[in-house]
């Protein structure tokens, strides 16, 4: 590999990693509040892909993007209210199974409504514009993804650590009953969590699919699993952890593919998961598990 191609691959890897990071944030936030691995998150991401396909068919991208984000948020919040909220007092396993059910429901719904044939993902032309820096060339989306990811993460960290809402989110993640005794409406805070997670998934979806050609009802599954691994790798429950995990997986996947091992790139992701679960179950920068009684 020449230094130019290495830089090229690093760029691609960082960009893919940025999209993964945005999706991984949804897993980590919901886990932090509900102790739930939200299996439906990957399919919310997939549905956001379809929303974009249909929105762009009838409107220009500057209107389509905010609309797609809004509709995806709506979907995420409705799923929470319909499938998870009624199980608030049930054992954790029940709500996990419910999320697996929702995941299949969305995939089947998409197959039924849109067929299993790939739908071409629309081109957002400014994102596709190619830039040349020295001998390295890449489209705008490649440069934009990591920058946008870092800006969004910065805003999110500020929200969590320095606002009243964020303080309530941290309190709810610790102890529902005591949070209620402060006058906090638990359900409102949980909804906010799903709003943020779904918005990030919608933005991640636009960045991810713009680099790909098409969407199918199963497009969410593999990236979703990888982003879940990213969240665990960084330390589930931790936002910076999810971002770090997303970048590590995006970059390593890109390099394995570039070196001709693309067949093994998915296997590598899951090998990482196994290794981290064995040697550092709290993740790279996750807090040591505190007593949650």
């Amino acid at each position: 590999m020449t230094s130019t191609t290495i830089i090229q691959h690093i760029l691609t890897g960082i960009s893919l990693g940025g999209a993964y990071a945005l999706i991984a944030i949804g897993y980590t936030l919901v886990y932090g509040i509900l102790l739930l691995i939200n299996f439906a998150h990957s399919d919310i991401f997939m549905m956001a892909g379809y929303f974009m396909v249909f929105a762009m068919a009838v409107m220009p991208w500057p209107i389509a993007i905010p609309l797609v984000i809004a509709v995806t948020i709506f979907l995420g919040v409705v799923i929470e209210k319909a499938a998870y909220k009624p199980l608030r007092a049930a054992p954790r396993m029940s709500i996990m199974i419910s999320s697996i059910g929702v995941s299949y429901l969305l995939q089947n719904l998409a197959t039924y409504l849109f067929s299993a044939l790939p739908k071409g993902y629309p081109t957002i032309s400014p994102l596709k514009r190619v830039f040349q820096i020295g001998s390295v060339s890449a489209s705008l989306v490649t440069f934009l993804t990591p920058v946008l990811t870092l800006i969004l993460v910065f805003i999110l960290m500020y929200l969590i650590n320095h606002t009243k809402l964020g303080m309530a989110m941290r309190a709810v993640s610790k102890d529902y009953d005591t949070a209620k005794l402060m006058g906090i409406k638990i359900n409102q805070i949980i909804s906010v969590t799903f709003v943020i997670g779904s918005a990030m998934a919608a933005i991640g979806s636009i960045l991810y699919f713009t680099d790909r050609m098409s969407v199918t009802p199963f497009s969410g599954t593999l990236p979703g699993l990888k982003c879940f691994v990213a969240a665990v790798l960084g330390g589930i429950g931790s936002v910076p952890g999810a971002v770090l995990g997303g970048f590590i997986i995006g970059i390593s996947e890109t390099f394995l593919t570039a070196m001709g091992y693309s067949t093994y790139s998915d296997a590598f992701t899951f090998l990482l998961l196994i290794l981290i679960l064995i040697f550092r179950p709290t993740g790279l920068i996750g807090e040591t598990v505190t007593d949650k009684v």
């Binding site: 009243k164 309530a168 941290r170 005591t178 209620k180 005794l181 402060m182 006058g183 505190t290």
Partner: protein, 239 residues
């Protein structure tokens, strides 16, 4: 009309009847204590007033209005605030944030800031440690923080679930003198204790709870000198 009236309250956990038709009242300005052995139903009583567990029978009235069935958040809005058993400070929030979150429903920023200073005057240890994560405080400091956090809500009725549990005798003395001080400043207190001796000394009135039923009630001083209460709850420590 009493500030708080509990009438024939029953609570079930599945098949277990934790409270059997208990009735008691709390008048404005009083310190009332509920004493009883472990498992008597003391915490259940406070949790049902706060709306954390739902009653299977009976009513709870605040200012003559029925409040049983309201959400916990609505109970807090009415000025009925609980310091839960085991302190339950948010270990992942700083000391300052724990105080701020106690004022979650308040919107008077200046008033909240002034009250934080008031808490620091009341509990100087908290001021020194305001930036520390609450989980790193000692048990006594956490109890001070839990009380301070509850006071930040400006409660009309402060309910405390075994504030002396697991604390060193010196700290227990501090806690009880603070309870008296809070009461003198106009807050009505409903106090639950296994440490019957200390509780009856500060209380205007007390109720003795035995396996989910009120067995006896009276002025704090009368219960303190009652032979059967002494035998059952005060051991030799009263003599």
């Amino acid at each position: 009309m009493s500030l708080l009236e509990i009438e024939n309250l029953s609570v079930h956990y599945g098949g277990i009847e934790a409270l059997k038709n208990i009735s008691f009242t709390v008048n404005a300005g009083e310190i009332v204590t509920l004493i009883g052995a472990n498992g008597a139903g003391k915490s259940t009583t406070l949790k049902s007033i706060s709306g954390l567990v739902s009653a299977s029978g009976g009513t709870i009235k605040h200012n003559g209005e029925i409040i049983s069935g309201l959400d916990t958040q609505q109970i807090v809005e009415r000025g009925i605030v609980l310091v839960p058993e085991g302190r339950k400070v948010f270990s992942n929030l700083s000391v300052l944030e724990n105080l701020k979150i106690g004022a979650y429903l308040r919107h008077d920023h200046a008033g909240v800031a002034a009250d934080i200073e008031r808490m620091y005057d009341l509990f100087p240890r908290l001021k020194e440690r305001h930036w520390q994560m609450a989980g790193t405080l000692s048990g006594g400091e956490q109890q001070m923080l839990a009380v301070g956090r509850a006071l930040m809500a400006k409660p009309q009725i402060l309910m405390m679930d075994e504030p002396s549990l697991g604390l060193a005798p010196l700290i227990v003395r501090d806690i009880f003198s603070i309870i008296r001080k809070i009461n003198e400043q106009g807050t009505t207190v409903l106090l639950i204790e296994q440490n019957a001796n200390a509780a009856l000394k500060v209380a205007d009135r007390g109720y003795v709870l035995v396996t989910g039923e009120v067995m006896m009630s009276g002025a704090g001083h009368d219960l303190l000198t009652d032979k059967s209460v002494q035998d059952a709850y005060l051991g030799t420590s009263a003599h």
